[in-house]
Structures are given as C-alpha cells and as structure tokens.
C-alpha cells in the first residue's frame, strides 16, 4: 500500500473523512467507488481509473487509521485495486499472460457506468405514476349479490417455503422419530390383551415383545418401552400383577385371578 500517496487538497481530505464516517451508508465497494469517482468532477466515462484506485486505497488507509473496521468485500477490492494499479504503472513482464491493466481498468469503468445507469433507471422507475398512489383500481368490486365460489389461493412463495419446511424439518425437530421404528403403546396393549389370558404363571415381560422387534436394538428399546407402559396400564385396570425382585432385575407379569 503506498505510503507516499496524499490526498491532493484539504477539501478531498475532508471529503474522504466524511466518507469514512459514513462507511455504513455504502452498498458495497462498487458503490463506494462510484461515490469517490464523483469527486473527480468529470463525466463517468472520463474518470481516471488509476486515480480512482488511489482514492480508494487512501480511503481504506484512512479507515484503518481511524480504526474503522471494513467488511471483507472492501478489503478484497482494495487488494484488487492495488494489483490493478501496479499493472497500470509497470510495463508488463515479458511472457506474462492474463488481461492487461488497460483491459481491467476498462471493465471496471464499464461496471461503474452500468451501476450508475441502473441507479438512474431505478430512480426513473420509482418516479413513475404508481397504482394506489397516483392512479387507482376499482374500489368496490362486490357489485352484485354474492354467489359463493370458493377458490384456494397459494403463491409460488408459499409453495417453495412449504417445500423448504418439509426438507429441513429434520434439522429442527431432532426428536421427530421415523415412524417405522416406533412401536406404540396402543399396539403393545392390543397385543398383550390377546396374550395375558395364557399368562397363568409369572413370566418375563420381555417375552411379550413381538418377534420382529427383538433383534434390532433401536426397535427392541421402543417395543420394550411400549410393552412396559402397556403392562402398567393393564395393572391399573386390575387385569395383571407385576413384580420385580430388585433394581434392574427382569420385570415379571402374570394374569390376575378374578
């Protein structure tokens, strides 16, 4: 970064200072460059890109001196402009390929001119007569007696957001279990109601697990929990008795004689 560069006049220094203070007001490095180019007080097509690069680099230096943190975009642009400056000032190395400094400068000038053109176009667009402000649609569209026809409306945005919601649901609901691996208490209850008639002797609760749910540990856990809950429910109804000889010992169950 050039130490020897100094803004030409006090006015420019003040302008640069004002810009630094206002750095949040810029919409990115291109916007900042466009603003800086106006201080050259020439038509955009005549702007000196070399001078503009120097102005920008001085701006970044000034921001550093004032300890204002610049977003990465601005620093990337500064590095690029420093490169451009060297390309413009130094004769190209023999055998060096890639675009010349002039080509790069011309493209930057085009980008600035295009951005400026779009700004002006946006201003002209917004200056047009607008619906609901300068001209108006029919105020009363309910002109005859109601004959209800229900139509459903949805916008493409609704559609996309719905899809995104579905596709990212797993990200947000980690407890949303896959259906296939859950054995519900209702299922267990139904199965046990059919089996307890035969449970005259004390027997391990685990033998009530359905065949298909015994091997896979995930499935076994789900089925065990459901079967245990179902056993409690049956005990509450007075249909079975439960016992356990100690902590973590098998839970046993038998039919209650009525």
């Amino acid at each position: 970064m050039p130490d020897d560069f100094a803004p030409d006049s006090l006015d420019e220094r003040i302008a640069a200072e004002a810009l630094v203070v206002d750095v949040n007001g810029f919409e990115g490095p291109l916007d900042l460059l466009l603003t800086l180019s106006r201080t050259q007080k020439v038509d955009l097509r005549q702007v000196s890109i070399l001078k503009l690069a120097e102005q920008y680099l001085a701006f970044v230096e000034e921001a550093k001196r004032l300890r204002i943190e610049l977003a990465a975009d601005y620093l990337v642009m500064a590095a690029w402009l420093a490169f451009l400056k060297s390309r413009l000032l130094l004769p190209p190395e023999p055998g060096e390929d890639g675009p010349s400094g002039e080509e790069l400068a011309a493209h930057l000038a085009f980008q600035l001119e295009r951005l400026e053109a779009m700004r002006r176009a946006a201003a002209r667009l917004m200056a047009r007569d607008q619906l609901g402000r300068d001209f108006f649609a029919r105020g009363d569209t309910q002109m005859v007696e109601r004959k209800k026809v229900v139509t459903y409306t949805a916008t493409v945005l609704d559609l996309m957001q719905a899809y995104a919601r579905v596709k990212t649901r797993d990200d947000f609901e980690p407890l949303h279990l896959k259906r296939g691996a859950v054995y519900t208490m209702e299922q267990a209850l139904e199965r046990m109601r059919g089996l307890i008639g035969h449970a005259m002797e004390w027997g391990d609760l685990r033998q009530f697990l359905p065949e298909a749910w015994r091997l896979d540990p995930k499935k076994r856990r789900s089925a065990t929990a459901a079967t245990f809950a179902a056993a409690l429910e049956l005990a509450k109804e007075g249909k079975v008795e439960l016992r356990q000889s100690g902590m973590f010992e098998p839970i046993q169950l038998r039919r209650r004689e009525i």
Binding site: V144, V150, A154, V156, L157, D158, M160, D171, F172
Partner: protein, 209 residues
C-alpha cells in the same frame, strides 16, 4: 374569504369536474354523498351538477351512475348482472398440509402417496389429495411398476398457470432457496451444510432428468 382571494382559486370547468367525480366514484369502496364529493373536489366545484352530467353520460352504457340513499355509486347495468356471477369468489388459503403435499408433488413428481408420506413424515389424508385434484393442480399419473403398482401424482398445466411457471423444473431447489435468501431456515450449527444441500439438489435432479 375576500373576492380577490377566491378568484385565485377558480373552479375547474364543468367537464373537468365531471372527470373528477368519475375518478373519485370509480375508486371509492362505498357510495359517496354530494357533501363528501364536494369536500374532495377542488374549491368552487359543484358536485350535484357534475354528478348529473356523469349520470347522463352513462345512460345506456355497461355501467351506470346510481343513487343509493343520498349517495352515488357506479354500478353494473342491471341487464348485465348475468356476466358478474364469476366475480363473487371467496379466496381461501390452502392448509399447511395441502401446500406441503402440493410442494412435494411439484418437486418430486411423479410421486406416490407413500413417498409423499415418507417425505412429510406424517400421513396424508385422502381429502388433501382430492382437494388438489379438484383444484386442477394435481392429477393422477402413471402407475409405478413396483409391487402393488401404486398410482403416482403429478402437477397439471393448471398448476403451472396458477404459479406462473413454465415447467416444474424452474422451481428453485432447497440450496438455491437458501442462497437467494428466500428461505429463513438455516441449518443448525454443527450440521455439515454442504452434504445436506447436495443431497437435496441431486434428489430434485434425479426426478427431473
């Protein structure tokens, strides 16, 4: 107010007043009284006269200037009421289940009901798909050549027309939605963003290519 001040604010010509009344009555949601019209017209206008002119102008036209109590409104000519039946439409928003089902069909078509349920993680009621078919947004496609030969669902031309799409392929994928800021859902920290997005996209591609 002195005479000389008033002359500075001379009323516009009657023909201009008539234009003004026409625009005001057209844009108003409710009938307007002469008194209200006079407060909205420039100083010195005579709403009664302008209304009378406008009323005459609309005689025999498709709309008329009618008096409602002591107010005025522009209304359809009574003999053309039969053309208006389509105007009374009640707009309802689609339920969350319906819009999600529709989105899945649009992104994954042709898709079976079981596949929709797998993607949504909940079952899809018969009525939801029936409604989408009735709206002419979804139709029954070919049967899938898998056991049970389940029917598939696809979206219709009516769907494309309603959503202003040329093809369902134009719908952005989840990754694009996120990148263009159309999606507020960010992946939770710690989850590899790349892998998940990549998957989402390739899935969409599979279905369309």
């Amino acid at each position: 107010m002195g005479d000389d001040v008033q002359s500075l604010f001379e009323a516009p010509p009657l023909a201009e007043q008539e234009r003004m009344v026409e625009a005001i009555l057209f844009a108003s949601a409710a009938p307007l009284s002469l008194a209200t019209l006079n407060t909205r017209l420039p100083h010195g206008c005579d709403a009664a006269e302008a209304v009378a002119l406008l009323k005459k102008r609309y005689i025999g036209r498709g709309v008329q200037l009618v008096r409602v109590d002591d107010a005025y409104a522009i209304r359809t000519a009574p003999d053309l009421g039969f053309l208006m039946t389509k105007e009374q439409i009640e707009h309802r928003k689609l339920s969350r289940a319906a819009i999600e089902t529709l989105a899945i069909i649009a992104y994954h078509q042709p898709v079976t009901r079981t596949e929709i349920e797998e993607i949504r993680g909940v079952s899809v009621s018969r009525g939801t798909i029936d409604l989408l078919i009735e709206l002419d947004w979804v139709k029954i496609g070919r049967r899938r050549m898998t056991p049970g030969r389940p029917v598939t669902f696809t979206v219709t031309q009516g769907f494309l027309d309603h959503f202003g799409l040329e093809t369902p392929r134009d719908l952005p994928g989840v990754k694009e939605l996120r990148e263009s800021g159309m999606l507020d859902n960010r992946p939770p920290p710690g989850k590899g963003e790349g892998e998940e997005d990549g998957e989402g996209e390739s899935e969409t591609d599979d279905f369309f290519d």
